[in-house]
């Protein structure tokens, strides 16, 4: 009797799980935390699925981890935002087709008390230098994400390598996603670099406010990367290609541009004229 009940429970639960998983066709999209946390994917994916019947399962990681997931063959398509890491990925032969789908910008946010006195500027490098010389608290993602890479590039221009920054007491490497870094910055009254989409969708700002914006160096480009069939060798690449084509199609671009949070557009579609 007990054995029978076990079998029953097992069958029912497994059936329930399978019902949830039984999609006609599905692909795994390795993406960055910013496109997931901003709510963009949750907003546009149902439109793609309605049109094609293909379900897109999003695994949100930093750009570095997302590319690694694809290298191991665990993703069918990639959507990331770190030009240098992407070039490396292409040079290694994992992909031959990279297309920009949208852009927005990074901003420097920080406490409204603004201990480094940089509020309202547009020069991000000058701002970082001021933060360093004021020894004001700064939170770094420290997770090889696209935002982390962009931050370290700016620091390099400002004359500081990551090796030089890490021992500094005011430089906090939190090793986490964008939201985690914003939570930390909010708690520590620290400055941090964030993409604008995650910032607008973030609900625990505390005393944080936008400090620096509008620097041309702060442009943040999102690329969809199709994988090389010779390296990947999985049949789902057709469905993945359909998704990439949809993202750059007028319909996909329109969906990306239409996504708003509190009346603000988060991503500027740019497939037709890459920035």
């Amino acid at each position: 009797m007990i054995a029978f009940r076990y079998v029953l429970v097992m069958v029912v639960t497994l059936a329930a799980i399978n019902a949830g998983a039984a999609a006609e066709k599905s692909i795994v999209l390795a993406s960055t935390t910013s496109v997931e946390a901003s709510g963009l994917l949750a907003n546009i994916l149902p439109q793609f699925t309605a049109r094609t019947g293909i379900t897109v399962n999003v695994v949100a990681q930093g750009t570095g981890k997302a590319l690694d997931t694809a290298r191991r063959g665990d993703a069918d398509i990639v959507l990331v935002h770190d030009p240098e890491a992407e070039r490396e990925f292409i040079d290694e032969g994992y992909s031959s087709t990279v297309r920009q789908i949208a852009w927005n910008d990074f901003i420097v946010v920080g406490p409204s008390s603004d201990p480094a006195h940089i509020l309202g500027g547009t020069d991000s490098v000058k701002a970082l230098k001021a933060i360093a010389s004021a020894r004001a608290a700064f939170v770094s993602r420290g997770d090889r994400s696209g935002t982390n890479a962009a931050e370290l590039r700016l620091w390099r221009v400002a004359g500081r390598s990551s090796e030089a920054l890490n021992p500094e007491k005011w430089y906090h490497d939190v090793g986490g996603g964008m939201g985690q870094a914003l939570n930390a910055a909010s708690a520590l009254n620290a400055y941090t670099l964030t993409d604008r989409a995650t910032w607008l969708n973030f609900n625990n700002k505390g005393s944080l406010t936008i400090i620096i914006e509008g620097d041309p160096r702060l442009i943040n480009r999102y690329d969809v990367i199709e994988l090389n069939p010779r390296k990947h060798g999985v049949a789902r690449l057709d469905a993945a290609k359909a998704f990439a084509e949809w993202l750059v199609s007028p319909e996909g671009q329109q969906a990306i541009g239409a996504y708003q949070v509190n009346g603000q557009q988060l991503f500027n579609p740019s497939a037709a004229s890459p920035k």
């Binding site: 429970v9 097992m10 949830g20 946390a37 063959g73 665990d74 939201g179 625990n204 999985v234």
Partner: protein, 219 residues
């Protein structure tokens, strides 16, 4: 709201499935370890007890590498599916259930072992009877395993990928909501999770108490 129910449902069904798998493995092994003498038995028991504290994130990482398409079990295509989460949670629950079943079986065997084997019955035939004798403890053991699985996040976020509508459970959703700064939503989900945990413990105590007053053996 649909999302919310989906998340709660997935959490419970994955944990139930994992607990069922773990129980199916642990019950016979736990009892067998008490009944059959063999060299190295002590070592295995010590190891199982040590695995009580198996760090979920390590289990998740090892399973991730094994299930990756470039890993040894990649052909199964299980990574980022609910099945992968069931496996991870079952691995975490097995030591707990096995150890608890073994402990109870050992006492029951010491007390009834001779009796159960006097009329020519083999030890193998005595095994289900031992499990029958300790059934109250089995409930406790299985529910302890369920408690471990339903509250776990480190392993399933790695092998499940926290995919919306597919592998997002209560614990991984709490991690995500926290990361988006939606602390009140995270807290609400946390309250539901705690509610389920408390219900599980309450059930354990109720069942164990009832079994004891019904005259079951204090093993």
């Amino acid at each position: 709201m649909r999302d919310f129910l989906e998340i709660v449902g997935l959490s419970i069904s994955v944990s139930l499935a994992a607990t069922a798998v773990a129980a199916a493995v642990s019950l016979p092994i736990g009892a067998a370890l008490a009944i059959f003498p063999f060299t190295g038995r002590r070592l295995i028991v010590v190891l199982i007890n040590a695995f009580f504290g198996l760090p979920p994130v390590v289990v998740g990482l090892v399973l991730y590498l094994a299930l990756s398409r470039s890993g040894p079990l990649g052909f199964l295509e299980l990574l980022f599916t609910p099945a992968a989460m069931v496996i991870a949670q079952a691995i975490l629950a097995i030591p707990i259930i096995t150890a608890l079943v073994h402990r109870a079986s050992e006492r029951a065997w010491a007390r009834y072992g001779d009796e159960l084997t006097t009329d020519g019955a083999t030890r193998l035939q005595a095994l289900p009877q031992i499990l029958m004798i300790i059934r109250a403890d089995l409930v406790t053991a299985v529910l302890a395993g369920f408690g471990r699985t339903v509250s776990e996040v480190g392993a399933i976020i790695l092998v499940g990928g926290n995919i919306r509508g597919l592998t997002r459970t209560m614990t991984t959703a709490i991690a995500l909501q926290t990361s988006q700064g939606d602390l009140s939503l995270a807290l609400a989900l946390g309250a539901v999770l705690v509610g389920i945990s408390i219900s599980v413990s309450a059930t354990v105590f109720a069942l164990a108490g009832r079994a004891r007053t019904a005259g079951s053996d204090e093993v």
